[in-house]
């Protein structure tokens, strides 16, 4: 049997997603109509023999998280549990800490997925690839191709072209190493804990030797990427499965819009029933648009392409929305125009207002281009990016006479 672990991080992580992450933990931010990690969970449940999904992170168990767990379990009919780390333990430390939970029931293998990625999740294919490698079962890392310049922002994988064994791994190198990058989606066997344990032991020895007065350096903080993969590379244990399917990190609000687009496009292929359709008496729909069943949209509105309308949203007469996410409870009054923006929960956009962000999409002419994680400031000026309106911001109509 199999399990899956989703690493959801905690409030000190994901700061590039503020102010949206102030309201709701980033892993629960809605992309294409559902919380970010629901896409992960759905993909996991498609893998035969998947018995349990564990969320590992260091968020306090909030109402939002609890409610999500309940509804996800109901929808996907699989046990989903949240394992809260007592501190931020890193991408390796968390699973190491909960290794007994992960291994209970004796799974042959388990997936580990980062919450903040948007992907096609070719999990069955990774499983098949692992089985092809034969015994002993190898660890598989999902990889994809980036362009040379952007690869420096990710974990870079040098692999044997025939066997796909990972020969060398560097996290965010300063000079070019490889165009194949780490997608943050892994397939491990129980044997991985032995390797993580070795890292833990050696880190502990180092700390004792250093006689560090820094009280908060913990040996239990283990990073899969820098500490484990770098050590595993070239030892015949770690392999990369390359995918050409869509993949993107979701670090900033701009990348949420891009992810929204990728998932909506996936819906049009695999779940067209989830997308809105043009119908008499309904609004005009262009391209891929998701509308929550409780949203109310005027028939004269024109939505899309690449729009998600959340729960209870009101869209007034003659409203135009394109490449945007409208979060729960927001209200777009008549004749507004919303482009490349995220409109926050319960916001009101007054009549004839124009809300326009600057898209930060990857270069469409480069098939391997990834979304840029722009710095907030450059040369002392704020970098233009997608517009976000936080919770309950009323945006008044343009001043009247």
């Amino acid at each position: 049997m199999l399990k899956a672990v989703i690493l959801i991080g905690g409030p000190q992580k994901g700061t590039r997603f503020r102010p949206l992450s102030f309201e709701v933990p980033k892993p629960l931010f809605p992309v294409a109509g559902v919380p970010m990690i629901q896409h992960h969970i759905e993909a996991c449940t498609k893998v035969p023999n998947m018995k349990e999904i564990l969320l590992v992170g260091f968020y306090q168990p909030t109402e939002a998280l609890s409610r999500f767990l309940v509804s996800a379990q109901q929808e996907f009919k699989i046990p989903i549990r949240y394992l809260q780390e007592y501190a931020a333990l890193g991408t390796g430390g968390g699973i190491y800490h909960f290794r007994d939970q992960i291994l209970s029931g004796g799974p042959e293998a388990f997936f580990v997925l980062n919450a903040d990625v948007c992907s096609e999740f070719p999990l069955p294919e990774m499983l098949a690839f692992q089985q092809q490698r034969g015994d002993p079962p190898s660890f598989v890392m999902l990889g994809t191709t980036a362009n040379r310049k952007q690869s420096l922002n990710y974990g870079c994988i040098v692999a044997n072209t025939d066997t796909c064994e990972v020969l060398h791994y560097v996290e965010k190198p300063s000079t070019f190493v490889s165009e194949i990058i780490n997608c943050g989606i892994y397939l491990f066997t129980p044997a991985v804990f032995q390797h993580i344990g070795e890292v833990f032991q050696s880190t502990q020895r180092e700390l004792l030797l250093e006689e560090s007065t820094n009280g908060w350096q913990r040996a239990e903080v283990i990073r899969l990427e820098q500490d484990v993969f770098t050590a595993l590379a070239g030892r015949g244990k770690l392999y990369v499965y390359k995918t050409d399917g869509f993949w993107s990190q979701i670090k900033s609000a701009g990348s949420a819009i891009y992810a929204n687009r990728l998932y909506l496009s996936q819906y049009s292929q695999c779940h067209p029933e989830r997308l809105a359709r043009n119908s008499p008496g309904g609004p005009t729909i262009r391209g891929n648009v998701y509308i929550h069943p409780t949203a109310s949209v005027d028939r004269s509105a024109v939505l899309g392409p690449n729009v998600s309308i959340g729960k209870g949203v009101t869209v007034g007469a003659g409203v135009r929305v394109r490449e945007s996410i409208i979060l729960h409870g927001a209200s777009l009054q008549d004749h507004t125009c919303v482009l490349h923006s995220i409109v926050g929960w319960d916001s009101t956009i007054g009549r004839w207002a124009r809300v326009e962000g600057t898209p930060s999409d990857p270069n469409p002419n480069d098939p391997y281009a990834k979304i840029d994680s722009e710095t907030l400031f450059r040369d002392g000026r704020l970098t233009p990016s997608i517009t976000i309106l936080g919770r309950s911001d009323p945006l008044p109509p343009p001043p009247s006479p």
Binding site: G318, R354, E356
Partner: protein, 381 residues
Amino acid sequence: GAGAAPQRTGLTWRLPSPHSAMKALILVGGYGTRLRPLTLSTPKPLVEFCNKPMLLHQLEALRQAGVDHVILAVSYMSEVLEGAMREQEQRLGIRISLSHEKEPLGTAGPLALARELLAETSEPFFVLNSDVICDFPFTDMVRFHKHHGKEGSIVVTKVEEPSKYGVVVCEAETGRIHRFVEKPQVFVSNKINAGMYIFNPSLLHRIQLRPTSIEKEIFPVMAQDGELYAMELQGFWMDIGQPKDFLTGMCMFLQSLRVRHPERLHAGPGFVGNVLVDPSAQIGENCTIGPNVTIGAGVVVEDGVRIKRCTILKGSRIRSHSWLESCIVGWLSSVGQWVRMENVTVLGEDVIVNDELYLNGANVLPHKSIAESVPEPRIIM
């Protein structure tokens, strides 16, 4: 008798009596470059201000005050202008001459060029700057001028920031002008030259046929001779020679209409404040138009449009859900759906703006298609 208003019968105007008939010289000038892109398609005097060609506002008011001969001092000859003026001659029943300066003559030289026409009678004559709009006080000017009996009268108007202009220092009681001061550093006076004068033909002795500035060379001498008097203008005044001021002048003019001819303004649900709409224009549903909007002949405004402080010239179309503030939309242009235009955006003739764009202070030349937003003011060729 003198001062009686001409009677209007049918399409022609009848003069009161020949001996009180006066002449007027209007300094039209050249290419009207400050009002580009509009003046790239049409001579400036013919650009419609509040649904009437700029020059016609002045011509009709002059006619009303008993002028029967208007001389247009132009530095560039336009067939279109000539044709339009022939039409107005018929319609207004006045004589219109064009005085064409082949070389630049400044603000006084054109008077010397038109000397023969102006000296045909011994009556005083008007001189006007063609960009001026106000409640033209031509009849009052004649009365004022004849009362003091000196050689020249100029109309002055009060402004808030006089140091941007040349100010006039005059005696409060009589209006006798002492001197002119260009752009004073210290407050001297808040009255500036409003660009409207009456002169006796004897003035022409002071001007030679060469480039001459009336304010710098002629007026100071007249002031010293005690021959120049200032009449203060009541009511609004604006030089509408550039788009920003064109719109400000429009607001003032519409407010003046509200006082004098409120029936000409448009009222009804969806209309706010002073709005002038040509009867042939079509306005859609759920629009909010105004305050301070002028909509020309044959304009189509589709549903759900918001327009404030704009001039929409003939034959244009504003498509649905757009929002326009402080703009001039040129003849036959088309503004797409969900467009936002503001901050003195000016579209020339036959411009197309695609849907969902944002134009901030864009100055768009004729026949251009705009497919990208203009977030910062600039000229689009």
